[in-house]
């Protein structure tokens, strides 16, 4: 039984402000979404930790101390040390820099390409559509892991190459999504109205089509960011991720990939595991909140 048979009840109790910009309204709706606010706070915390890494950690993340390896958490090393005596807390905090950078950069690249190509393809149709769809097919034809393996074998593993590789392979799905959305929106009356009014194409795309298509895209983009962070971890598993000694949550988990570690040294896998989960969770919650906030059909 649904509690809300009518959409106004969402804002039950809240005064309906007049003359407020859509962004203010959106923010208000976002703020009402509890999980999204939690997500935002957690994510902000993670970003802050990453930004201020040198100030919150006592040891450099790559400093080796062989005689003090596999040490459990102590007052000195808050999360213990890893197999070569490096401070786990420091590596988590610095690792956040890498993982968050990977997530944000890859998604930015993918989304930019996806929006551009997806909307072109859907709006113009015809040859443009054909060509772009074929491009999507080509990129999607090979399992991404394998394509990235081949690329990295050619250019060598590094943070930059990892970001580029993941970013350039992540757009097809979102492009198709945008294309699908725009294809169905394109036939709606308000678009036809704009066209008959003589509004130029790029305006139609940017001002009318995209904002309406954006909700599923936001969901997809948040999933994509999560998947980029996880893809980096997968690449670490295959030995072609961010090269040592630079820490990332993914390669920290990969270094813990052994039964002995699982059983006896939980401080090696629990922190990066929690870090990844909370980061990905918070990104997803934010995405959820954004979807709710930006849905134009809920505007009053």
């Amino acid at each position: 039984m649904t509690k809300k048979p009518c959409m106004w009840s969402r804002q039950r109790g809240a005064p309906i402000p007049k003359g407020e910009s859509p962004w203010h309204k959106a923010w208000r709706r976002f703020a009402r979404h509890r999980l999204a606010m939690v997500g935002l706070s957690v994510f902000a915390l993670l970003v802050a930790m990453a930004l201020f890494a040198p100030f919150v950690s006592r040891y450099p993340p790559n400093q080796i101390d062989l005689r003090n390896a596999f040490s459990p958490p102590t007052r000195d090393h808050w999360l213990g040390t890893d197999g070569v005596g490096r401070d786990v807390w420091a590596r988590i905090v610095y690792g956040g820099r890498i993982s968050i950078t990977v997530g944000v950069s890859c998604v930015s690249i993918s989304v930019a390409i996806a929006i551009f190509l997806g909307s072109m393809s859907a709006y113009y149709g015809g040859w443009v559509d054909l060509l772009i769809m074929r491009l999507i097919d080509i990129v999607m034809s090979i399992p991404p892991l394998v394509l990235i393996m081949a690329l990295i074998a050619i250019v060598g593993p590094s943070l930059r190459n990892t970001i580029l590789a993941i970013g350039f392979l992540g757009w097809p799905g979102m492009a198709r999504l945008i294309r699908g959305q725009i294809l169905s929106l394109r036939e709606q009356e308000f678009i036809m109205a704009a066209q008959s009014l003589g509004v130029p194409s790029h305006r139609i795309i940017l001002r009318h089509l995209l904002p309406n298509a954006v909700a599923p895209l936001i969901v997809a983009a948040t999933l994509q960011m999560a998947s980029a962070i996880l893809m980096e971890a997968a690449l670490s598993f295959l030995g072609i991720g961010v090269p040592p000694p630079t820490p990332s949550w993914g390669n920290m988990l990969q270094e813990a990939q052994a039964i002995t570690v699982l059983e006896s040294y939980p401080w090696l896998w629990v922190p990066p595991g929690i870090a990844i989960i909370s980061c990905v969770l918070s990104i997803n919650f934010i995405g959820d909140g954004l979807r709710d906030a930006l849905d134009p059909r809920l505007t009053l």
């Binding site: 039984m1 097919d137 399992p143 892991l145 198709r176 295959l238 969770l281």
Partner: protein
């Protein structure tokens, strides 16, 4: 529609060729070749032997010649022989596909059904505790790197509880039995499905939510239809469009196999084959697998687009 399909099929041929060419170039660009890939850096090899092996595989020819040869073979319905095992590529791929289809297909089906059900519940009970718990669990399942999830499940169910075997698709050397096979399937299936349920759940929830607040549903309710009919008959049908996209996007994944899961559980599927082919610079195998992948992607894209047209009558193709 028929012309559309025909045109798509016609266009896919040069696309497939382009894909094989791109893969061929990538294979060429990767340093080393099949002859040195299987070399252990700890054991000496004579240069003469390397050259002999290279010429046996035709690697001493310039690359345009090799690509042309491969195309010629393809036109005769032949995908060549693996550089490593010398078996016909078609036979090797055919023997590995069933294992992959089984694992990936069942996992996809399971995740889809459970995901849609849970997503619907979540959307209908938006903002309730149920929604909250499902959302968090769903996301959490999706945020664990799959290699770690696999190892954790091996540890829990294989070593601690000793309920399931930890590797392979069946117990070696004994006559095949369904139960034996299922017990080997369980852990990899679980690992994969945990990841996927969240995806379907999320998308179902979000698109159903959009639909639930729309006008035509209000009309349906006003007509006096039961809430259930409203949600399922009218709501879900329209909400499923993005789901179609996701399923369509995932069909190639079914064929591609999950490389990491197959590595960890030693599941004899296509994913492992692919990774080994890349590592061993097995060009015919890489090309054969790429071609197969490409055909699957083309086919599934076409099917998805047609499904779009049926699901949303407003879509028309030029």
């Amino acid at each position: 529609m028929i012309t559309y399909i025909a045109r798509r099929i016609l266009i896919s041929i040069p696309v497939l060729l382009a894909i094989t060419f791109v893969l061929f170039l990538l294979s060429e660009l990767m340093p080393g070749d099949a002859v040195v890939a299987m070399m252990s850096p700890e054991a000496p090899v004579s240069r003469a032997a390397l050259e002999t092996l290279r010429s046996q595989l035709g690697l001493d020819q310039p690359w345009p010649v090799r690509y042309a040869r491969w195309l010629w073979q393809l036109l005769h319905g032949h995908l060549g022989y693996s550089f490593i095992t010398f078996e016909p590529v078609t036979r090797v791929i055919a023997s590995r596909i069933p294992a992959t289809l089984e694992l990936m297909g069942i996992s996809m089906l399971l995740s889809l059904i459970l995901g849609v059900i849970l997503g619907t519940i979540s959307a209908v009970k938006q903002y309730s505790l149920t929604d909250f718990v499902l959302t968090v669990l769903g996301f959490a399942g999706q945020s664990i790197p799959v290699f770690f999830l696999g190892l954790a499940l091996i540890y829990l169910f294989g070593l601690r509880l000793r309920w399931f075997p930890v590797s392979g698709s069946h117990t070696p050397g004994v006559p095949p039995s369904a139960i034996d096979h299922l017990s080997h399937l369980f852990l990899p299936l679980l690992s994969l499905s945990i990841m996927r349920i969240a995806v379907f759940m999320r998308h179902t929830r979000s698109s159903l939510l959009e639909v639930l607040h729309s006008d035509f549903l209000s009309v349906a309710r006003a007509k006096g239809l039961s809430e259930r009919a409203v949600i399922i008959k009218h709501g879900l049908r329209n909400a499923l469009i993005p789901i179609i996209t996701i399923v369509g996007l995932n069909i190639p994944v079914i064929f591609a196999g999950a490389v990491i899961i197959e590595s960890i559980f030693q599941w004899p599927g296509i994913g492992l084959l692919y990774v080994k082919a890349v590592q061993q610079r097995d060009h015919p195998m890489i090309m054969g697998l790429a071609l197969m992948s490409a055909v699957v992607v083309q086919a599934s894209n076409l099917v998805t687009d047609i499904a779009y047209a049926y699901a949303d009558p407003r879509i028309r193709y030029d």
